[in-house]
């Protein structure tokens, strides 16, 4: 099977590094959970693999979107630790996953040196019966992640938009 770099998709794999660093910082720094990253892969149809997905779009000198997707049980565990609460108020889990996505993408943004990027507030989607179209001209690249809570995934689709900025 060809590597991502050999496949016919417009995507710079170095775009993933800020997101990996940001996830590591959040999980290992703030939540105290070691996280490991699987091999990059192309998400051909743009369907997130888990039930709760936080979607953030960005515009500027890079354009695209990031989708952070969590199983429900993992979401609940993360939310309890993030809020430091054993009993969660009703409705807070989706919001918390949106905030987690916001923190991951927002902190990754600062690692794109030389770029001016504006991020949208997060949108949270339940279920897996939807597709998120990749940024036009770019592949959707997935990083499977594993931590003590379980598995989750981040999908990134972005292009360099510097010429038109």
């Amino acid at each position: 099977m060809p590597g991502i770099a050999e496949q016919n998709h417009a995507f710079k794999t170095e775009y993933m590094t800020p997101f990996v660093n940001s996830i590591r910082g959040l999980f290992e720094g703030s939540l105290g959970k070691k996280v490991t990253f699987g091999k990059l892969k192309i998400n051909e149809d743009g369907t997130p693999p888990h039930e709760i997905s936080g979607v953030i779009s960005f515009t500027g000198t890079v354009m695209g979107r990031a989708v952070v997707s969590f199983p429900l049980d993992v979401s609940v565990s993360i939310c309890k630790d993030y809020l430091q609460m054993d009993e969660l108020p009703e409705g807070v889990v989706p919001d918390c996953m949106g905030e987690i996505a916001n923190v991951i993408v927002g902190r990754a943004k600062s690692d794109f040196s030389g770029h001016e990027i504006i991020i949208s507030p997060p949108t949270v989607i339940h279920g897996r019966d939807f597709k998120i179209s990749p940024q036009r001209g770019a592949a959707c690249v997935s990083i499977p992640c594993t931590c003590d809570y379980g598995e989750f995934q981040i999908d990134i689709s972005m292009i360099n938009n510097s010429a038109s900025a």
Binding site: L83, M85, V103, K109
Partner: protein
């Protein structure tokens, strides 16, 4: 103290509320800059506003600028609480009148220390 948390994330507002209500302070909340501005104006005197940046309707920077232009609100202490970590963004907020800056994810002790420093009071 009377503190207002302005953030579109319920989670972020909950963290601020729990942090300061546990210390006996009053925490009011609003989900966007426009609603936050209305809360601050109607609930004066306010000791401190903890303000997110990226929000719908009116973002945090616009909210901060509106407060600084309003003679009744221009003295309210404002701490930006955001994922915006670039130096240029921090500078932009300080130039617009922010008194402090805290990065998300929120470290509750760091937030308390920042509020204490900005407000000149024990938290």
């Amino acid at each position: 103290m009377k503190i207002v948390t302005i953030d579109d994330s319920l989670t972020a507002r909950l963290i601020v509320k729990r942090t300061f209500e546990a210390e006996g302070h009053t925490v009011l909340e609003a989900p966007d800059g426009a609603a936050g501005l209305a809360v601050v104006e109607s609930q004066m005197p306010i000791d401190c506003v903890v303000l997110d940046w990226n929000m719908p309707i009116m973002n945090g920077l616009e909210c901060l600028e509106a407060m600084r232009k309003n003679p009744k609100l221009k003295g309210v202490k404002v701490i930006m609480c955001t994922t915006e970590a670039e130096k240029a963004r921090v500078k932009q907020a300080i130039m617009a009148g922010a008194n402090g800056y805290v990065l998300k994810p929120v470290d509750q002790d760091a937030l308390k220390a920042q509020v204490a420093k900005v407000c000149g009071a024990a938290v």
